[in-house]
């Protein structure tokens, strides 16, 4: 008698043909639905916003949520001190040294606060005094050498030709707030929604990256650097309405940037970042809140890099510039301080501190040797890499082309265009906790992407070769368009 045990069960025989047919059918279904989804993406594509592709915020595509941390990477070591904008900002003190060089004034005969500063940093006095002499020597270079930069300088000046009016010398209690007689601040529904709104309009105003944080008063200058409504020799009381800081900014044009220090400029990013900041401040004032732009060149009342770190835009690198995942160091920020209530962003950690420990490419390429090759030091109570600003500024005066050097930005391995090669390298180093990939990629960067000898960057009359980190783009090669 047949029992259930002897008769084979009715199983579906899974043979090759059936498998193939099933796989094929599934593929067809998946493929067709894929077309639907892809179509949906095409409808929303930022690149379809012809002429406004860059205003959709699509450049800020790094997954900051995954790399968010609770505390920024800089370490507070002991009592902190706010920076003196009169002496610790190179542009503010260098004029004093220059006239001292002309008149032969010694440190002990200088006015305060410069006397105390130079007494503590006597070698800076020597460096700062040399700037005029260096510029003179650069001007003695041959006409052929100088004329090579005609197009680059014309482009740089043109980029700086459009600029918002400076905010003037009224105190912040007046100039930061909407005009008298305009309405009182609108009641905002939700800080998170406000933050989302502010970021969206910032993109529309032209920013490439945006981040929001609470303002740490330690980042505000103790004494002002430029005339923006504060008395020069009186300590700044951080206004209460400077509660939040919104960081915005734009990159410099990539190909001229790689041809720094001579063919590049800061002006293109500076002017665009200024425009964004002023537009944003105007927008916020229209909502009835206080807003104050702090913008490049030298129109700041605060230090921007630590605010960028707080806002989660990036990590500060060895060269003191904040490295962002999307743009590397090629980002010139501006800040808008405001009392508009917004949700804030968290700082991020994506492997930069590990990388900078062993990389040192910026320090090795630096023409003036201003970037530290050693470990972090304590500066005003915070642990960070020290930058020798007097040496750096000396080199600014030792070369042709638009003001500034920017070689460290061009040489930094993080400052790469966004193609699959560099995006992969970024993802690898960001996700590698061991530091192995950092050392490996640094070695590869040094061998595969070499730069000129640092002393070659100097003007020919100062012993250099007028070298640039990379060749200029075709549209800045003056010799191809103008008789030199």
């Amino acid at each position: 008698m047949d029992t259930g045990k002897d008769r084979p069960d009715r199983k579906v025989r899974v043979d090759r043909r059936t498998l193939l047919k099933a796989a094929g059918a599934t593929s067809a279904v998946l493929g067709l639905s894929g077309l639907g989804l892809s179509g949906y993406q095409a409808g929303r594509d930022p690149d379809s916003y012809t002429g406004c592709e860059g205003l959709q915020g699509s450049a800020q595509d790094f997954d900051r949520k995954r790399f968010a941390v609770d505390r920024p990477h800089y370490e507070k070591v002991g009592p902190t001190r706010r920076a003196d904008g009169r002496t610790e900002v190179i542009f503010s003190r260098v004029g004093v040294a220059r006239s001292a060089a002309q008149k032969g004034t010694k440190i002990e005969d200088l006015d305060e606060p410069f006397k105390s500063y130079y007494e503590q940093h006597p070698e800076d006095f020597e460096f700062d005094k040399q700037n005029s002499e260096l510029r003179r020597k650069v001007a003695e270079d041959s006409p052929e050498n100088k004329n090579r930069y005609i197009l680059a300088e014309a482009w740089a000046d043109a980029m700086g030709a459009v600029s918002p009016r400076p905010i003037g010398n009224d105190p912040p209690e007046t100039s930061d707030f909407p005009r008298q007689g305009s309405h009182s601040p609108f009641k905002m529904k939700d800080p998170a929604a406000t933050a989302k709104l502010i970021k969206k309009v910032s993109y529309e105003f032209g920013t490439v990256l945006v981040g929001i944080t609470k303002l740490n008063p330690d980042w505000v200058y103790k004494y002002p650097s430029s005339r923006r409504g504060f008395a020069r020799d009186e300590p700044i009381e951080v206004p209460k309405h400077w509660e939040y800081a919104i960081v915005v900014g734009t990159p410099m044009s990539w190909d001229p940037m790689y041809a720094n220090p001579t063919y590049g400029t800061s002006n293109d990013a500076y002017s665009k970042s200024r425009i964004v900041a002023f537009r944003l401040a105007s927008f916020i004032k229209r909502l009835g809140y206080a807003a104050r732009p702090h913008t490049p060149g030298n129109s700041y009342d605060l230090m921007v890099p630590p605010i960028m770190v707080d806002a989660g835009l990036g990590e500060q690198g060895r060269h003191s510039i904040v490295i962002t995942p999307e743009l590397g160091c090629n980002f010139r920020p501006a800040v808008v301080t405001t009392n508009l209530p917004m949700a804030t962003d968290k700082p991020i950690a994506f492997g930069v501190q590990e990388f900078c420990k062993t990389c040192k490419i910026c320090a090795e390429q630096c023409p003036s040797g201003a970037i530290s090759k050693g470990d972090k030091e304590v500066v005003r109570g915070y642990r960070r890499y020290r930058l020798h600003s007097s040496k750096c500024f000396n080199f600014w005066n030792s070369k042709h082309g638009s003001m500034g050097c920017r070689v460290c930005i061009a040489a930094c391995p993080y400052t790469r265009k966004s193609n699959w090669v560099h995006k992969t390298a970024l993802q690898v180093t960001a996700n590698d906790p061991t530091g192995v990939s950092h050392k490996l990629l640094t070695g590869m960067q040094k061998r595969f992407y070499p730069g000129p000898e640092p002393s070659d960057f100097y003007a020919a009359t100062l012993g250099g070769k007028n070298a640039s980190y990379r060749e200029p783009p075709w549209w800045l090669k003056t010799e191809d368009f103008i008789e030199l």
Binding site: G369, E453, P454, S455, G463
Partner: protein, 388 residues
């Protein structure tokens, strides 16, 4: 009656003699070519000086004016310290306060790609502004340069000696007790001795399991002598020997060991245990051959062509070194490029070819191009021709 063997033997003797004569001739020519024109370097080292007075201690005093009444602009000393391939000679200019005005290379014979690693760091120009009594310590006030340590050490030491001589001889500064270079005998030297002894013993069949031990020695050599310390034997070392640029024995223990291990067995017995059992680049080729699975030799007519090419190239390189007193004037070795990833573009191409061909043919570099092999072949020729 002269047999074919006798004819061959006397032909060989003639060839050996001819080569020897040519090498001696090259040495003599080099001797007469060796001149020194330092005036230009003095001016580079101390640009503010218009003329120089030279002292017997070979320190030159720079003066501000051409007339007899002039101020001292500073001092210049030219000092040499043995580098990798030969001496690195530096001219250092000091101002009367003891600050370095400039430091320039007068002469160096290091391999170009390696010297570029040092000069790319701005050296010796970066010494400008330093004080003559600075420690000049690599890793301290002087940055290390990966892959060119020996060159950098020589350069720094030359600057230090120049400064110290001028400081004590002209600036009246107290004599700083110079720390004598310690004798370098550490892990590299010990491991090298171990590898040489084991390799030789295996070659002479004095050890059991000789195949496995041979592989162990070769792999260890590849890793340590090759990648970690980047210090295999190359023609540059032999050229330095012939030209007379011998390293200071204190930090030359490694080199003495290596060159002895290479040359002594060939001279005494005609055998080359270094090549077959120790050379790290040979080890790399052996590994590739194993991966490739076949170990063919080069077909006959190609073998002859390459033998002639190999030996002519080596002869040219040695003659160049002797005539120009520069061990690296003609370098075409690729093992340094393999282990340090530093070299000219054509060296990378040649290296790639050698590595790929090694998959199919046994030791192509050794058999077709290696100049050290050509040198050992010549020593064997000398032995056959003149030894009893």
């Amino acid at each position: 009656m002269a047999t074919a063997k006798d004819v061959t033997k006397s032909r060989e003797r003639l060839l050996a003699l001819a080569i020897l004569v040519s090498l001696l001739g090259g040495w003599v020519v080099g001797w007469f070519r060796h001149h020194s024109d330092i005036a230009g370097f003095l001016k580079q080292a101390l640009p503010g000086a218009v003329r120089f007075d030279s002292g017997e201690d070979s320190i030159h005093t720079g003066l501000t004016h051409a007339q007899s009444e002039s101020e001292t602009a500073g001092f210049v000393a030219i000092r040499s310290v043995p580098g990798y391939a030969g001496p690195v000679t530096v001219a250092v200019g000091l101002d009367p306060n003891g600050t370095i005005v400039n430091a320039v290379i007068v002469r160096q014979t290091e391999s170009p790609a390696f010297f570029r690693k040092v000069s790319d760091k701005g050296l010796p120009g970066r010494f400008r502004g330093k004080d003559c009594s600075d420690p000049f310590e690599i890793g301290g006030d002087v940055d290390a340069v990966t892959g060119a340590t020996v060159t950098l050490t020589a350069l720094t030491e030359a600057v230090r000696v120049a400064c110290s001589d001028m400081a004590t001889g002209r600036l009246g500064l107290p004599v700083v007790v110079k720390t004598r270079s310690p004798i370098q005998f550490g892990l590299p030297e010990i491991l090298l001795i171990l590898l040489i002894v084991t390799g030789f013993a295996t070659h002479a069949n004095k050890l059991p399991a000789s195949a496995q031990i041979k592989w162990a020695v070769l792999i260890a050599s590849l890793v340590f002598i090759g990648f970690v310390w980047n210090r295999p034997v190359s023609l540059t070392n032999i050229n330095s020997l012939l030209v007379g640029y011998w390293p200071r024995w204190q930090n030359g223990v490694y080199w003495c060991l290596l060159l002895t291990a290479l040359l002594l067995p060939i001279i005494l017995t005609g055998k080359t245990p270094y090549c077959s059992h120790i050379c790290p680049f040979g080890a790399a080729q052996d590994i590739l051959m194993r991966l490739g699975g076949s170990s063919r030799q080069l077909p006959g007519k190609y073998a002859l062509f390459f033998k002639i090419l190999q030996r002519s190239l080596a002869w040219t390189a040695v003659m160049g070194a002797l005539v120009f007193r520069n061990p690296t004037v003609i370098t075409y070795g690729v093992s340094a490029t393999f282990f340090t990833f530093i070299g000219a573009n054509w060296q990378f191409v040649l290296l790639a070819l050698v590595l790929i061909v090694s998959l199919f043919i046994a030791r192509p570099w050794c058999n077709c191009l290696c100049p050290v092999r050509a040198v050992s072949d010549y020593i064997r020729l000398l032995r056959r021709s003149f030894a009893r």
